[in-house]
């Protein structure tokens, strides 16, 4: 892991458009990390303290099932933000996360980010608007998947 230049952090889609001074505050609590394929970022039920901004690579969010291979709930990749369980009690990971490819990330300390958001409400607003956008998009995607659209006849009037 290594410190993160604010300019590099600012280029991540999650932070795009955030004022430089605010990005600089987040850069103080961020580290750049590279993990190889197979690396497990966290386990379901583990203590959630951090989140990641994925720069490139491929990560699976999964649920373990006794006696069976893990169930992949969703995959994330370049430009995605990973991890929200650190934000609210019980601060436990709801899923596990495993690298499906060699992956580069920015890793941020959740408590330190919250402290900076408390101290600078403008940063807090910018940060949580982005977080809400991610959460909304994931909720939307989950709802669409629940519709099981592809189970319905999809071809031209096929009967």
């Amino acid at each position: 892991m290594s410190p993160v230049p604010a300019a590099e952090l600012a280029a991540h889609p999650f932070l795009r458009g955030m004022p430089d001074g605010q990005v600089a505050q987040l850069a103080e609590v961020a580290t750049a990390a590279y993990v190889p394929v197979g690396h497990r970022f966290f386990e379901e039920g583990g203590h959630a303290r951090r989140f990641w901004l994925i720069r490139d690579g491929h990560v699976a969010l999964d649920l373990s099932v006794p006696g069976q291979p893990s169930l992949i709930v969703e995959t994330l990749g370049a430009g995605d933000m990973m991890g929200v369980s650190w934000l609210s009690p019980p601060h436990e990971w709801q899923y596990g996360a495993k690298a499906l490819e060699d992956t580069r990330t920015f890793e941020l300390d959740g408590a330190a980010v919250i402290a900076r958001c408390d101290a600078d409400p403008a940063l807090g607003y910018q940060f949580f608007v982005r977080l809400m956008t991610v959460a909304t998009r994931r909720l939307h995607s989950s709802r669409i998947r629940m519709l099981d659209l592809y189970a319905a006849p999809g071809q031209t009037g096929g009967r």
Binding site: P13, I72, L149, G154, Q155, T156, G157, G158
Partner: protein
């Protein structure tokens, strides 16, 4: 019988057609042309691709995105997308078994006879130039996006009518910019044309697949197909998108692409309704002011969006 049937107003009879005695309409439009199943390939658990060989007379040459009415003798007739390119007299059609007729067609074995009417409807515009073969409905032709990037987004069996557009573009690779194919499927086992994905990549397409539900061993993407849009490099001003899949999926995808800045006239969708006659006479496929068997199935999103937003028509 269709004796004395007239060619619908605005349609032209393709050159080279021999009109059967007693008929004013070429074989294959009002009367099914006889075809024989040459081969059958299972794509997924419930989807089959048939290669059909014409009997005495083939139907007219088809363009990517058009459909035919396939007739299982003694059972019925259904509209089916053409999933192959017009490289010869054979016709390639991909069918999902969802009812009595499609189950019979999916079960058809080599040597079995089927009836074919068509080709019908509008096309994706790929490779279409002045004088292209087929019957051209008036005022509905979409232009060839030569020089543009192609973004092809398929949901489930919606990949079938997009396949000829992709194959046509790959066969004239220099004619187009980047070619990106995004495929969404229910599960890995239900991805159609899996055996071809690598060959499309080798031919110059960026092909990405995502599934709603992963299975053991799946190493690819899991999530809705619209999530892939954010993962590819898209130049909105230089991109023409083709979308086919369940209607909700097409609407969400078109909306996402429009939000990126792609003009609605550069987003093309393939709609389906209850196609029956294929020549805009019976009205079963009416969607608002559009008769989809003639004015569709391929429409640009500027035209389709208002139709898709109406709760009931």
């Amino acid at each position: 019988m269709t004796s004395g049937y007239a060619v619908p107003a605005g349609y032209a009879v393709p050159a080279g057609y021999a009109v059967p005695a007693g008929y004013a309409v070429p074989a294959g439009y009002a009367v099914p042309a006889g075809y024989v199943v040459e081969s059958s390939r299972a794509e997924t658990r419930d989807t089959v691709t048939l290669v059909l060989r014409p009997g005495r007379q083939p139907i007219a040459a088809h363009r990517p995105g058009q459909f035919t009415m396939l007739y299982a003798f003694g059972i019925g007739e259904v509209p089916i997308s053409i999933s192959g390119i017009a490289a010869g007299p054979e016709l390639v059609q991909t069918i999902r078994a969802v009812g009595a007729v499609t189950r019979a067609l999916c079960a058809a074995e080599p040597g079995q006879h089927v009836g074919v009417r068509g080709p019908f409807g509008t096309d994706w515009g790929v490779g279409v130039t002045a004088g292209s073969a087929g019957v051209e409905p008036p005022g509905t032709a979409l232009s060839d996006p030569a020089g543009k990037d192609l973004l092809i987004v398929a949901g489930g069996i919606g990949l079938a009518p997009l396949r000829p557009a992709l194959l046509t573009a790959l066969a004239a690779r220099e004619r187009y910019g980047r070619i990106t194919v995004l495929v969404g499927s229910r599960s890995p086992a239900e991805i159609a044309f899996t055996a071809e994905l690598d060959s499309w990549r080798e031919a110059g397409a960026d092909v990405r697949v995502t599934v709603d539900r992963a299975e053991a061993g799946w190493r690819g993407n899991v999530g809705v197909v619209t999530q892939l849009i954010g993962k590819v490099d898209i130049d909105p001003a230089a991109t023409v998108a083709f979308i086919c899949g369940p209607e909700v999926m097409m609407r969400l995808t078109a909306r996402a692409l429009s939000a990126l800045g792609i003009a609605e006239t550069d987003i093309r969708v393939s709609l389906e309704r209850n196609m029956r006659c294929g020549i805009a006479e019976c009205g079963h496929c009416q969607l608002g002011t559009v008769l989809l068997c003639r004015d569709g199935p391929v429409l640009d999103y500027a035209r389709a969006r208002p139709l898709l937003a109406i709760r009931e028509l």
